[in-house]
Symmetry: C2
Subunit: 408 residues, 2 copies
């Protein structure tokens, strides 16, 4: 097998969120009748249920009318818009951000992540990533020929922290890891790293001279006003060793415009721009204009959106806790739940296919977030409230039916 | 120096088109007064002079109103839109294109190129590229740790062909090259490969089992109805070894929407989608809708656009030919000229900076297209006609002034 074939064998996307139509389901035999109900795709948020920021399309149209200046920006994005957004993100995070040197606009948060990893990982580099964490993290390290050093997060341990194994992280740094990538709030679990955890991560990174990439995609959607600690604003790690990633695709429902940003280390941002030049030149020029609406939403809009998500979360979590056969930790931020099925008699990938065919519900298998999560699945509950509740009831029905059959 | 530092040292973007504001010009001393005139940026087309396809914004807005289905497409793009465009491209090229298996929508043609190269080049692979050719080709091979095998194109040799050195190409295949990447029409020279050249390239690729990636970004803007030969429709190379790339960013002025496509080999398209999943998920969902206007322009619109570009080309070429000190080949397709300055007493990068500061004209240095083009520069003449003529006059003035000084 050639090198490139090997590389792409590892890069499977069959179970990735949004790719369900490409799955092979020929082998799947349903053991029960189909359960009727409104189809729900828990693999991503429903932007029809939670609409984009009001006025975002108008700002896009203004961008088109600006013409060439907006279509052909610097690869790192339009300077005007960088200044606008950098200022708002400085306020939000408490970090100093120079719009010229420390900031890049990217095609989605995924784009930021790819560019950041491509700018820091060379062949053979040891990279620490959390398990479970966003499905692309592992794939990115593999694509750039890095070596994954997994750090466990025991999210069922207690409610006061995310449960990161900090001893394991220090051990990884001692063994030569020079890059640590993690999402905060964590995707898929929806937990926030405690202040202690963030300070400790920062201290370790500084002590061992490591770079930290923090994906904070969901850091605006915090429930019950919990504390969120921005690593970039702690003044512990050398700022040239920190990249923070965030974007308006989730809580703000702007995913269709493909927008994200990264800020921090001038050196790494420079590299990211050079890479952007050969990856896709720039985030869509007209789309960049839409960032003007971000962090400038109508008064009360974000607060209301958070409360609506909290209400859905509460209903889904109650249902799962009342049912037999699930462990689930309450989401602290973002729109994800990562329930564990306590007794599952089939591979999670098969369960996910059955669920889709039998109950018209799409979820993402736990194994996308770490190979050991063979009994967990991820739900993005940014959905129509009623449809989401009915869909989780169907998930419970399917699990119970298969478990009862197993018991018989 | 670390591996990653080395890699990014090679990936300079300071002289890349559109990045001129990031150039260091502290060292540049002007030897003459500034020449007044409307600023012209020949590094890319002016979409204010040549506006996007009529109705493209309306179709985008329709896309936004479709909502979630349009925002979250498969990574390879919306099936409806793939079917729409694949059919039109089959008509255009004469190749069979299955919209499900052989087609992917990408963030710009640059995105298609990056994904195609990332899906075919592994560390140490020998890759043949043309000199001169699109500036990113070289950088892509280097980024993916391939080894560049340059193939010369003597575009001043005659007018009947592009001038590719086919002996050199065969030699490269004999020495283990398994991938050949080239643009047709050629960027930066604006010449079309003759039918003989395309057939010979195809025969060689088939004989040596090589894959061919053809970037046909400018293949709709053909002057004087010259013959254009689509390699993908010749039935010579195994279709699983061909990828064709095209997009609406240039002639159609849709660059601000970041859209491109690739079609051909199902195996490579599959890989490209897997890579897309970690690069930026998909081409902007709403933007994808805009592809419906492509190849469906109002009657006569494309013909008129071609004639307008032809008229600008003719004026610029006459000016350069009348002046002292330039060699230039007539553009056969696309919007580029690649003049050679016959006597230049400074590095081309310095000349380009002087031109910008002294005459308010931006051009791209020849060295972006191959290290040996130290006396050439590229002009994208998709500009306001009058402004372009005046700008080329200023280019001539600057060259003459510096040459005369040199003679003294």
């Amino acid at each position: 097998m050639s090198l490139i074939e090997e590389k792409f064998l590892k890069l499977g996307a069959e179970y990735a969120p949004g790719q369900e139509v490409r799955q092979n389901t020929n082998e799947i035999k349903l053991r029960f009748d189909k359960i009727p109900g409104t189809p729900v795709d828990f693999s991503h948020g429903d932007v029809d249920a939670f609409k984009p920021i009001p006025g975002s399309l108008d700002v896009f149209i203004e961008g088109v009318h600006i013409g060439g200046k907006q279509a052909y920006t610097e690869y790192r994005g339009s300077m005007d818009i960088r200044e606008n957004v950098a200022k708002k993100l400085s306020n939000f995070t408490g970090a100093k951000i120079n719009a010229d040197k420390n900031f890049i606009i990217t095609p989605g948060t995924q784009g930021a992540l790819f560019l950041a990893m491509g700018s820091t990982v060379a062949k053979g580099d040891k990279v620490a990533i959390v398990e479970p964490d966003y499905f692309a993290n592992r794939k990115l390290v593999e694509f750039f020929d890095g070596e994954i050093v997994p750090i466990q997060m025991d999210y069922f341990e207690n409610d006061a922290s995310a449960g990161l194994d900090l001893t394991q992280l220090e051990e990884a740094f001692k063994q030569g890891v020079k890059l640590f990538l993690f999402s905060n709030p964590n995707n898929p679990v929806g937990v926030i790293y405690s202040k202690d955890e963030i300070l400790k991560i920062a201290e370790l990174a500084e002590r061992y001279g490591a770079t930290v990439i923090v994906d904070q995609l969901y850091s605006r959607q915090i429930f019950e006003k919990r504390t969120f600690t921005h690593l970039c604003a702690q003044d512990i790690v050398n700022p040239e060793n920190v990249i923070t990633i965030i974007g308006p695709s989730k809580t703000e429902s702007l995913s269709g415009y493909r927008l994200g940003v990264a800020f921090g280390s001038a050196k790494i941002i420079d590299r990211m721009e050079k890479l952007q030049a050969i990856v896709s030149l720039r985030a869509g020029g007209y789309s960049q204009a839409v960032l003007k609406t971000w962090f400038s939403e109508p008064k009360g809009w974000m607060e209301e959106r958070i409360l609506e998500h909290q209400a859905i979360r509460d209903d889904l979590v109650s249902k799962l806790q009342e049912a037999n056969g699930f462990n689930v930790r309450l989401t602290e931020a973002g729109s994800y739940l990562f329930p564990r099925i306590t007794q599952l008699d089939m591979p999670i990938n098969e369960f996910v296919k059955i669920l889709r065919l039998q109950a018209n519900v799409i979820v993402t298998p736990g194994t996308e977030f770490g190979p050991q999560f063979t009994d967990s699945f991820r739900v993005n509950f940014s959905q129509d409230h009623k449809a989401a509740v009915s869909a989780i009831e169907r998930v419970i029905q399917v699990v119970e039916a298969y478990q009862n059959e197993h018991v018989k």
